[in-house]
């Protein structure tokens, strides 16, 4: 089977600062990959490179077998980013309008049809925020907002869901329910790639885990990963000094 994502010998630098060095890994379809690493270890960059949002300086990235930059099936990708966008704080836009954006890749220039509206309603139901549909997005709590963004990915019928520290600033109860939702979606066959600070929490849910600090330290099944010394090596490497505040379960 073609892997959902394959990364081969990828290197990436901002200005003169190398961020990724010779990273190679594959994410199989249906996987739930937990991506961990110290602050500034290049996790977000790797995720963006995987999704074709950034081009690597060298190496190749394939999404479902197609080079990532040439991958045109935008409907298959869902992305929930770390911070809210600037616009979502100030712009008047309802939850339903945000989730409807998930249909845009299907719709193109034509008008929305009933099927599109149904997909939006279903997605809102699925993540349990149907009652908030007409609320302005910036009036939602952190947890509700992340659900809205997941709903957007579901509305687009994404089969790859990439999340970059989606639970930062979300209260503990909501985080628990958020992970349950991710487990359910993964059980339905959606490939999940998740960046998360809380390694303990992640280990309860991810099928495989990868540890990154500029280079890839390990990528294997979760149990094997926890028994290895990958974390220790990554978090104790010289780059980690900057990130000394990072421990297992800090949550701001």
């Amino acid at each position: 089977m073609t892997p959902a994502i394959s990364v081969e010998n990828v290197s990436f630098a901002y200005e003169d600062e190398p961020v990724l060095r010779d990273v190679s890994m594959t994410v199989e379809e249906g996987d739930f990959l937990g991506l961990v690493g110290p602050n500034g270890s290049g996790k977000t960059t790797l995720l963006k490179v995987m999704l074709g949002l950034q081009s690597p300086d060298s190496g190749t990235v394939r999404l479902f077998g197609t080079p990532a930059r040439e991958f045109t099936e935008g409907t298959r990708l869902g992305y929930v980013s770390q911070q809210s966008t600037e616009a979502d704080a100030t712009m008047p836009v309802t939850v339903r309008e945000v989730v409807t954006m998930g249909r845009y890749a299907h719709v193109g220039l034509r008008r929305l049809r009933d099927a599109d509206r149904r997909a939006v309603d279903d997605a809102l139901d699925r993540v349990g925020i149907a009652d908030l549909a007409d609320r302005r997005i910036n009036r939602l709590s952190g947890g509700q907002k992340q659900r809205a963004y997941i709903a957007r990915a579901l509305a687009s019928e994404a089969d790859l869901l990439a999340l970059d520290e989606p639970t930062v600033g979300v209260d503990t109860d909501s985080v628990g329910r958020f992970y349950e939702l991710l487990d359910e979606l993964n059980a339905e066959g959606i490939t999940v790639v998740l960046i998360e600070h809380d390694i303990g929490l992640l280990a309860d849910h991810a099928r495989t885990m990868a540890c990154l600090d500029g280079e890839l330290y390990a990528h294997c099944g979760t149990r094997e990963f926890l028994e290895s010394d990958a974390l220790e090596r990554a978090f104790s490497s010289a780059r980690t000094v900057r990130a000394s505040a990072l421990a297992g379960g800090d949550r701001r």
Binding site: E15, R69, G74, Y79, T85, V93, E97, A105, V107
Partner: protein, 328 residues
């Protein structure tokens, strides 16, 4: 790697030829259809509408040819300016409209100069259209190759366009009243062919936005997600900024180069205060735009004040009111 390099890497104009092909394939027939409409269908419709209105209402306010053209032009910009403004405001790009208006003024000056020498080319608004469009594309080029829509290029374009205008006028344009009408707007100085041009621009802008609203909203709200959904962000950026140039040229007649940005921004800002939905906000900003235009024209008539100024002042009054309503 410079910021520009990084941006280029993030926003490659990869499918430009295909997009251009699409724009031409759709745009040329649409442009021809609009032109045909303006030349042959619109004038009799316009005449019939105002004749009927004049016979029904029978006051000089709707029977004077000057005011008929003024009302029509005002109503049109009350539609297009807030529509395009809704995307601009939410992307913190409001002042781009102002910069384009000032370059359009430079175009007007060139047009007046050329028109004085070659009577056949006496159509300053067309020169404004070309100048503003070129400036818009230039702005987009700079945005792609540097750090987005930054202050400095906007300020340079704003003052530079104006400087060109003033330079040309001081060198050899004698019709100071005409110049003033493009600078401050003059509702009593809208020739019929300018009304035709404005109708054409309105149809073009409204049609394009109706077609691409979803993409424009997507890149306004969440560029990253739009890129992930493989929306051609670079193309729609260019489209938005060119639409802005068209609107600004259309609105310059009434509001003048200096006040144009107000119509792009203020009705939208007011609508944003009182609604949670972007789509409702878009419609509401058009309503507020109409209130500002007709309220402004009325106030201008009542107190004998320049119309461009009263339109903007009424818009600001609507905005202040919306602050009060929105805070409840």
């Amino acid at each position: 790697m410079s910021v520009g390099d990084r941006l280029r890497r993030s926003f490659p104009p990869r499918s430009l030829p295909r997009r251009l092909g699409f724009v031409l394939a759709a745009g040329v027939p649409a442009g021809l259809a609009i032109t045909a409409f303006l030349l042959w269908v619109f004038p009799p419709l316009y005449g019939a509408f105002w004749d009927t209105t004049c016979t029904t209402v029978d006051t000089w306010l709707v029977c004077s040819g000057f005011l008929q053209r003024g009302f029509t032009a005002g109503a049109l910009i009350g539609v297009t300016a807030p529509i395009v403004g809704a995307y601009l405001v939410n992307r913190q790009m409001a002042l781009i409209g102002e910069a384009l208006a000032h370059t359009a003024f430079g175009g007007v000056a060139i047009g007046l100069f050329v028109g004085a020498a070659v009577p056949g080319l006496d159509y300053p608004l067309l020169f404004a259209l070309v100048a503003a469009t070129v400036a818009a594309l230039g702005m987009q080029y700079i945005a792609v190759h540097t750090d987005g829509y930054a202050d400095i290029p906007i300020a340079i374009m704003l003052t530079g366009g104006f400087a060109v205008g003033i330079a040309i006028i001081s060198y050899g344009v004698v019709f100071s009243a005409t110049v003033e009408s493009y600078l401050f707007g003059d509702i009593l100085f809208v020739p019929f062919r300018n009304v035709q041009l404005m109708v054409g621009l309105t149809l073009l802008v409204a049609g394009t936005v109706a077609l691409t609203h979803k993409q424009l909203l997507f890149i306004t709200f969440d560029r990253e997600a739009a890129r992930l959904a493989r929306v051609d962000v670079w193309f729609y950026d260019t489209l938005l900024i060119v639409l802005t140039a068209l609107v600004v040229v259309a609105a310059m007649q009434i509001l003048g180069a200096i006040l144009v940005a107000g119509m792009l921004v203020i009705p939208v800002a007011a609508a944003m205060q009182v609604t949670d939905s972007f789509n409702r906000g878009l419609l509401l900003s058009v309503v507020f735009g109409q209130v500002a235009v007709f309220g402004g024209i009325f106030a201008s008539y009542l107190w004998n004040i320049a119309t461009g100024a009263t339109i903007i002042l009424v818009a600001i009054a609507v905005y202040l009111l919306s602050l009060v309503v929105g805070s409840r």
